[in-house]
């Protein structure tokens, strides 16, 4: 039995194909793009129908917090890219420090996001609330999309953070290293996608007011 698994493991190892993992990751990212793309279509359609309500809704969001979050996520993409570069040069410790920084940025982003959301809840604005039901129809849709899209994005930030944690553990145990870096690169790709989605969410929700 142990002989069989050893042979299977060897067999598996022989087939480690970084290129295939890259292709698989890009295909997966396409599905993510279409996932958010669908929401952007809904947004675009409702923006044309409820133009003024959307502008009014946007004016109620805190540009400062949104802007801060944009800067945080952009910087976290930088530290992620640097972490990949560090491991490519074989600097394991430096890479781990940079990944930790990325994680801290992710936590910072989620912190600000939760402050924003709880502030809205405090004002009585949540999906089923009576306060929101009294708003003009377009603003209800605006908030519907706001909660859906930023919520789904936050979920992706959390998934990305977990992926970073797992990658860090594997780097620590030496499973991911200079010569076998594709997992870190794929985590990086995912993180950049999360960043990219926010680049679109920020102006669409915060800056049209």
């Amino acid at each position: 039995m142990s002989h069989g698994t050893a042979a299977a493991a060897e067999h598996h190892h022989k087939h480690h194909d970084p290129e295939a993992n890259k292709i698989g990751m890009w295909l997966f990212l396409f599905t993510e793009v279409l996932l958010f793309g669908t929401l952007f279509i809904a947004y675009a359609m409702y923006l044309t129908v409820h133009r003024w309500d959307f502008m009014a809704g946007s004016a109620q969001l805190d540009k400062l917090m949104g802007g801060a979050n944009t800067i945080i996520l952009l910087t976290s993409s930088l530290t992620m890219a640097l972490a990949i570069g560090a491991l490519e040069r074989g600097k394991k410790k430096q890479s781990l420090i940079l990944l930790t920084t990325t994680l801290l940025f992710a936590c910072g982003f989620l912190g600000i996001k939760s402050v924003e959301w709880s502030h809205k809840f405090h004002l009585g604005i949540w999906p089923k609330s009576e306060t929101l039901a009294a708003f003009p129809q377009g603003e209800q849709i605006f908030y519907g999309l706001y909660f859906t899209m930023t919520g789904l994005h936050a979920l992706h930030v959390i998934i990305g953070a977990v992926a970073i944690l797992i990658t860090m553990a594997l780097i620590g145990r030496g499973k991911v290293h200079q010569g076998r870096i594709d997992l870190l690169e794929n985590t990086g790709l995912y993180w950049h996608l999360v960043d990219l989605v926010w680049i679109f969410l920020f102006p669409l929700f915060y800056l049209i007011g």
Binding site: H15, D17, E19, A20, I23, G24, L27, F28, F30, T31, E32, L34, L35, F36, G37, T38, L39, I41, A42, M45, Y46, V49, H50, D53, P127, K128, L132, A133, P136, Q137, G138, Q140, I141, Y143, G144, L145, F147, T148, L152
Partner: protein, 537 residues
Amino acid sequence: MTTAIAAAETAPNYLNAKSGIWSWLTTTDHKRIALLYLWSMLIFFVFAALLAFIFRLELFAPGVQYFGSDIYNRLITLHGISMIFLFIIPGIPAVFGNFFLPILIGAEDVSFPRINLLSYYCFVVGALLALVSVILGGVDTGWTFYVPYSLRTEQNIFVPMLAAFVLGWSSILTGLNFVTTVHRLRDRRMKWFKMPLFIWALYSTGWVQILASPVVGITLVMVMLEKFIGVAIFDPTRGGDPILYEHLFWIYSHPAVYIMILPAMGVVSEIITTFSRKTIFGYKFVAYSSMAIAGIGSLVWAHHMFTSGMADAARIIFSFLTFFVAVPSAIKVFNWLATMYKGSIKLEPPMVWALMFIFLFSIGGLTGLYNGMLSIDIHIHDTSFVVAHFHYTMFGGTIMIFYAAMLYWWPKMFGRMYNKKLATTLAGTVFIGFNLTYFPLFLAGMAGMPRRYADYLPRYEIYHRLSTIGSWILISSLFLLLIHLIWAAKRGRKAPDSPWGGATLEWTTPSPPPTLNFTGEPDLSRWAYEYPEEVER
């Protein structure tokens, strides 16, 4: 010689290399995963077919026979959900794609064997959720879950929607795996335009699965969020637009019918050439037409909504594109016919079923043009004409080819042969039963019989009565063949490695194949559609 045969017989194959239920449930062998899919799906196929059998009984006569509209609506919804999401969409790719894609390109497995297994378990979870929804009383929204009804109804809509969502994941992972495998694990000697056409079909399907499934996934999530958390998105009383839901739903669900039919078309290309002993006519056109169907098919969704409320310009554009997608489909049909022309045709069971497919699919495809035509669609929209059209393409198309693929590859998969005479005879009764079941529905639809109604006016009685009688012939023939095939997989006489003399790679390996598919280097000296005797003729 005899010792070589003895050695080949004792050499382990993928079926007996390991034993025990655990070795099956944790397998990453693409062939074993294919069999897991096969047995699971056949259960749902039988289940969904029985549902149809039951509600056709209700339609035998006008008025209420056994149950009223409420149960009827739940039955058709469940029939639709299980047939479409649990059998036809995953069907051919997950079973025959999984089994033969790596073999046909000379690979040992797919690129991501563990993700392949994960995809199977997504399928299982989705199927169990669908089952739970039945226990919870079922839903009567139809498989389309249209808002605002799905938002308002008191029934438990969450579970079937979650089921569809999880099944979407299964589909995406399979597509992702196949596309990567074709790029990375294809034998280096096999160039793109030397690939078997089944691979082209699976490759195109993989792209549609990847690009279309997320759209319906997130759309269902939006409905769930709206219904259970109260997020305003589609509800018209809160500024939402139900038509947007229809668009988003069909942006996936129309391409999904090409997910269902493209792999079947790939199988037909294999079967027709093998049994005509002749190179496929216009290889590149057949290959490109798969990609063209995948591409154009993604741009025709709104023809499901001609009566829902849309700008005239949009309706005309979508109508035009609908006609346009018929072109690559027609290319395929003409090329199959041209392949058979002057071929040395052998009417073995898979060929008989494939020929039946060409006939039934042509009717299905051509009546699709009726539906795509604006003026006629206003008349036949939501009538049983559409039901008949859909079943001619999906049942007459995909399910007939699922059977043809079983008959074609059964000897390879299990190393056992079935009773050919029985399979051919049953093709005849299925043909009669099928046309008797669905052709009257065209006529009833033209005469104004609406779809999804448990009751009807007496003047439609003759059509429904014929249809119900046809369904008895159809279902008994299909089940009989299925029972025989399952028996043959275990007890049939031993099959040779290449029972049909096909030229693709799977016929160069033993039946059933060893775990790593090939005993040596795959033999690529012969092209997938090269028949030396053809030149001599």
